[in-house]
Symmetry: C2
Subunit: 315 residues, 2 copies
């Protein structure tokens, strides 16, 4: 019976039924039993979409840019999936709020699927769930999948690295920390966007970016372009789509394979980490032992390292 219902579930997903897609994403988000069985079936149907990762500093206008890019792809007849990852919003309704604002622009279009994903707390797994959600959208026939990260941090960089094309969004004159961020995300940007390009300081930001890019040569022949956009006025969006297409076309087969391999390695390690922890915590008595150890560490009667040794001894 379980086999039958999973097959029906898969059929609905591959058929592009939005409700089935939404349910499947909730399943991988919750990490419930059955997600593994589902993902094994989904995986076979993937590999047809172009996945575009978009990251950048807060305030850079990424959401508007993503919406406009989605509209452009829609006009070209593509089906578009959008996943907005918000790791900084553990409890609040931030993600849901974002969805609602989005729905006003794109929500009535059945060729667009929008989903926000937020953290699940201590147990992690957001990055893994995001990549699984991308696979589900891919299997469901969304030909362009845009993964937008709200924050700028380790998880966001990891998530964007799992895309086929990575776009880094900057904005003119954002202050000292931008330098630090640029240094960090320089390596992951296949394409750079300077959004809000009607603001002061565009030229300086562009020169600075060019200088940084010349200091960090890539392993391939691709020269990351700098695209200037004013997303709110739909300016530069065509150029961005062209840059994305050019990058995909320029990649050698061997480069695509290398990227697939590093994504595969990352996916396996993420999933392994998550499943090892879940297995360890699932052992009978571990939950009580953990509570006890938490008390001991909190009151400094024990250090965290020996607490973990204690748990591993029982595992």
């Amino acid at each position: 019976m379980i086999e039958v219902s999973q097959t029906a579930e898969l059929e609905d997903i591959v058929g592009g039924n939005p409700r089935a897609v939404a349910r499947a994403i909730s399943k991988v988000e919750d990490g419930v039993q059955g997600a593994a069985a589902l993902m094994k079936q989904v995986f076979e149907h993937t590999g047809r979409s172009i996945v575009i990762g978009i990251t950048g500093a807060p305030g850079a206008g990424k959401s508007s840019l993503v919406d406009k890019l989605a509209l452009l792809y829609r006009k070209r007849g593509e089906r578009v999936g959008i996943i907005a990852v918000d790791p900084s919003s553990p409890f609040s309704g931030g993600a849901i709020l974002g969805d609602r604002i989005r729905m006003q622009t794109l929500g009535l279009d059945k060729g667009v699927f929008i989903r926000s994903m937020a953290t699940r707390g201590n147990l992690g797994g957001l990055a893994r769930a995001t990549v699984d959600a991308v696979s589900i959208l891919d299997a469901a026939g969304y030909t362009r999948i845009i993964v937008e990260t709200v924050g700028v941090g380790q998880d966001e960089v990891e998530i964007v690295k799992t895309a086929n094309v990575s776009v880094v969004v900057l904005v003119p004159g954002m202050g000292d920390d931008v330098q630090a961020i640029k240094a960090g995300i320089m390596e992951i940007g296949d394409i750079f966007v300077i959004n809000k390009a009607d603001r002061d300081g565009v030229f300086a930001t562009e020169k600075e970016l060019e200088a940084l890019l010349s200091l960090a040569p890539r392993g391939d022949a691709w020269q990351p372009p700098i695209v200037k956009t004013i997303a709110t006025e739909s300016q530069g969006i065509e150029e961005l789509a062209t840059a994305i297409a050019s990058f995909k076309e320029s990649q050698l087969d061997s480069e695509v394979q290398d990227r697939q391999k590093s994504i595969a390695r990352w996916r396996i390690l993420e999933l392994l980490r998550e499943q090892l922890l879940a297995r360890a915590l699932d052992q009978p008595g571990t939950s009580e032992a953990l509570n006890q150890l938490v008390d001991e560490v909190a009151s400094r009667r024990r250090d965290p390292y020996s607490a973990v040794e204690e748990i591993l001894k029982n595992g």
Copy 2:
């Protein structure tokens, strides 16, 4: 012999020797053998510092704020440790660059210890290493430890939550995404700073922040204050230090204990996750098996879930 050298190492740390402290932090960063033994000894000597976590949007001027707060604490006779966490900088010299700039302001003062910590790649552990580094500085007699995160994301939120006092830094008028960030970091801020308070839009940002704060009531009696600063001109730094001290004084014993417990739980889970993965990958033959599985997943001959099952079967 190992016991003896560890004891000497511990003595140097507890004696406040900066080189010993730096070496110990490198050890926990590398996660090498011996870090566990060291941390077990270090942990006993901790619990005397006030740990201040500072996070906020890029471009908010966190670095200047941290430097000025450190200078103030120095004037008051405190020894100050600063840890700048840069999860977005996996490969580049971003962190080191940051250190060098810092050293010009504070570097010659022996009462200040500055360290940047960046990600270690796929294996994670940055947040755990940061918290271990805080323990080392604590044991070494740094009475004020400031942990500054460069990015805004899941890891950064996690790291800031392990502090005794969390400070969230905003800046007037940073655009739409700020709303999303605010929603996410609202819960973790014990104190809010509006830096660059000579800019336009301070009043609007303050009102907006007050409105958001009134929507998200805390579990305790503390009313998070909003401190306006111009860090580059050293304005508002005294007020920030006062707010930090007031928060510490206002906390009930039971609140301090609850916080210690959630930090302890987080530390144990982080360490457990890391050690489980390290153990699994250490199994003989796992590295070859992993490479094989990576190839299979990359070429879509296998899905990531069954790849992980394969590894777990052997573990």
